[in-house]
């Protein structure tokens, strides 16, 4: 969806056309004005190879480029690579770099930078979640296991030509290069700064890093030398609102201190109506859930987990705490994802069944069950209301729960990855419209993003087979079987799928939103009519 002049709720197909028309009449002046955005938490890092959350992604997307990227229709298009070609068997890929692309320190981007950046992604010391996407590059497994010092599959043929050799062509390799981790970084800066690169990054993107005051704001400035044309705003200011307090963000928006905002929880309908064409809504590939840490007693017991899911009235929570804005998730995969199964029934709200399951697990009426600790990194009116309702629902079946809030996002992530949170509230956002993005990442026993400790050999097998299954029908069937098996084991309590909702000031123009949501809006195209 593209938001052009007065175009927020026009038919979808017309919108890109509308944006183009506006482009014709767009002012010819250079970067002007400041675009201020709300960021729901501090990023954990701005090093693109290490990004694992939407706050980091939102900023890193504006600072860096890869060889290619997804446009707002999720089509792969050129970025630092001007063009590319592959052998017919898909094993040999040759990329020709643009000659006018420079890092923010003024140095030209070369083929050596590409080889360095991609090798760094695979390097286990980088701890990149994207490393496994490159293991079909010749020599990558040996390098990753420490048996080789370089990856022969990445080669700089000359200053502007990179060649990649694969051992297996599972997917068009160019699509792999479009993921947000595969950005090109300057070797000398990364090596000089080490871990500090994540707090003062140097990229090639349309905006360059200026400063970051944790818990307050993060400032980027327009890159006038950007290869695809300078941004139309001079500065981007991300104002940090730890804990995602949407009402506070909206108040700041109303005062004219932000150019866009998520709608508030309080007076939601009034705010959306008042926004008129400034309000944008579209489906988003995401799932919001509570994860059960299965290594912690009594959450290792499937009957207990199933009882907790049956005990909670999710539809009432969506209605009462969030005014029906979200789509109830009966399963895990969001609508619009390949493999989404509309027939999944999931767990109905059934307190009687919850009590039966608790009794079967040895906790009749909740007797003997410890108080459950539920952790969250967001704290706003909607979330607090949601937690009140959950507390009441659990109490009705004899379960006591206490909520803990840690709105320091990097600290929350640390506790999560150390397995120290018994039950945790979490949201998961796709970066590619594919079921693997949800099921493999969250539930395969060897995935670094499996925070629940879930391990089921049968599910592992189905997910591994689905990854390489070329037949779409069979692939969908594998994912559906995996999803059903996961739901039966109940490692998470799925709550809902988000819609992307945002309110823009009336003077904001040319916002392009894809199904991947806010982090992927190309802010260099946005301009202000003030």
């Amino acid at each position: 969806m593209t938001r052009g002049r007065g175009g927020a709720r026009r038919p979808l197909l017309l919108l890109p056309v509308l944006a183009l028309c506006i482009g014709v009449f767009a002012p010819a002046w250079g970067a002007d004005g400041v675009y201020r955005r709300a960021l729901g938490n501090d990023p954990a890092t701005l090093d693109p190879a290490r990004v694992s959350d939407i706050y980091s992604r939102s900023v890193a997307q504006q600072l860096f480029d890869g060889l290619v990227h997804f446009d707002h229709t999720l089509t792969v298009t050129p970025a630092l690579a001007q063009h590319w070609k592959s052998s017919r068997d898909g094993l040999l890929w040759t990329f020709t770099l643009r000659r006018n692309a420079k890092f923010h320190n003024g140095r030209e981007v070369t083929a050596d930078d590409v080889v360095y950046s991609l090798t760094r992604l695979v390097d286990p010391r980088t701890r990149s979640a994207a490393a496994d996407l490159f293991l079909n590059v010749k020599g990558a497994p040996e390098f990753r296991e420490g048996r080789a010092k370089t990856i022969p599959g990445f080669a700089a043929l000359d200053r502007h030509t990179v060649q990649v050799t694969l051992t297996e062509a599972l997917v068009p390799f160019v699509a792999v290069l479009a993921v947000g981790h595969a950005k090109i970084v300057p070797r000398e800066v990364v090596e000089e700064k080490g871990d500090a690169f994540g707090t003062a990054p140097v990229g090639t993107g349309p905006f360059r890093f200026v400063k970051w005051e944790r818990g307050r704001e993060l400032v980027l400035a327009a890159n006038p030398d950007y290869f695809d044309g300078a941004p139309r705003v001079a500065r981007l200011v991300y104002r940090v609102f730890p804990g995602e307090p949407f009402d506070t963000m909206y108040e700041e928006f109303q005062r004219g201190h932000l150019e866009d905002t998520p709608p508030p929880n309080r007076d939601y309908r009034k705010a959306v109506a008042a926004a008129g064409d400034g309000y944008v809504k579209r489906p988003m590939l995401s799932v919001r859930f509570y994860g059960f840490n299965m290594r912690v007693k009594p959450l290792g017991d499937r009957l207990v987990r199933q009882a907790l899911i049956h005990a909670i009235d999710r539809e009432a929570i969506i209605e009462e705490a969030f005014l029906g804005r979200h789509i109830l998730s009966r399963g895990i995969l969001p609508p619009g994802t390949q493999g989404y199964n509309p027939k999944v029934s999931g767990y109905a709200y059934d307190p009687r069944r919850a009590r039966e399951l608790l009794a079967q697990a040895g906790y009749p009426d909740g007797r003997g069950l410890p108080t459950l600790a539920i952790w969250a990194a967001a704290r706003n009116d909607g979330v607090l209301r949601e937690h009140d309702l959950i507390k009441d629902n659990l109490k009705a079946v004899g379960v006591r729960a206490e909520f803990h809030y840690l709105t320091d996002w990097p600290a929350f992530l640390r506790l999560l990855s150390e397995g120290r949170l018994p039950i945790f509230m979490y949201a998961w956002y796709a970066d590619v419209p594919d079921p693997d993005n949800f099921l493999f990442k969250l539930f395969h026993s060897q995935s670094s993003r499996n925070f629940t400790g879930y391990a089921n050999q049968r599910v592992d097998g189905l997910l591994a087979r689905a990854r390489t299954e070329p037949d779409t029908t069979r692939r969908v069937e594998l994912y559906r079987r995996a999803e059903q098996a996961i739901l039966e084991d109940a490692p998470i309590l799925p709550m809902w799928h988000y819609s992307y909702e945002r309110i823009f000031q009336p003077y904001v123009r040319s916002v392009e939103v894809s199904g991947l949501g806010d982090p992927y809006i190309p802010l260099r195209k946005v301009w202000l009519v003030k």
């Binding site: 160019v174 990194a377 979490y426 594919d434």
Partner: protein, 43 residues
């Protein structure tokens, strides 16, 4: 004879063409295990 030679020359060119050029879009149907996804607080 000339026509045949021309056809043969064209055929050999086509057979020798080793590459698929860029600029073609990639269907989302073809995505397999390429993404990483991101987490968030879920406020």
């Amino acid at each position: 004879m000339k026509v045949l030679a021309l056809i043969l020359a064209l055929a050999s060119l086509l057979l020798a063409a080793p590459v698929i050029e860029s600029g073609t879009s990639v269907s989302t149907q073809l995505f397999q295990a390429i993404g990483t996804a991101d987490g968030g607080a879920g406020g």
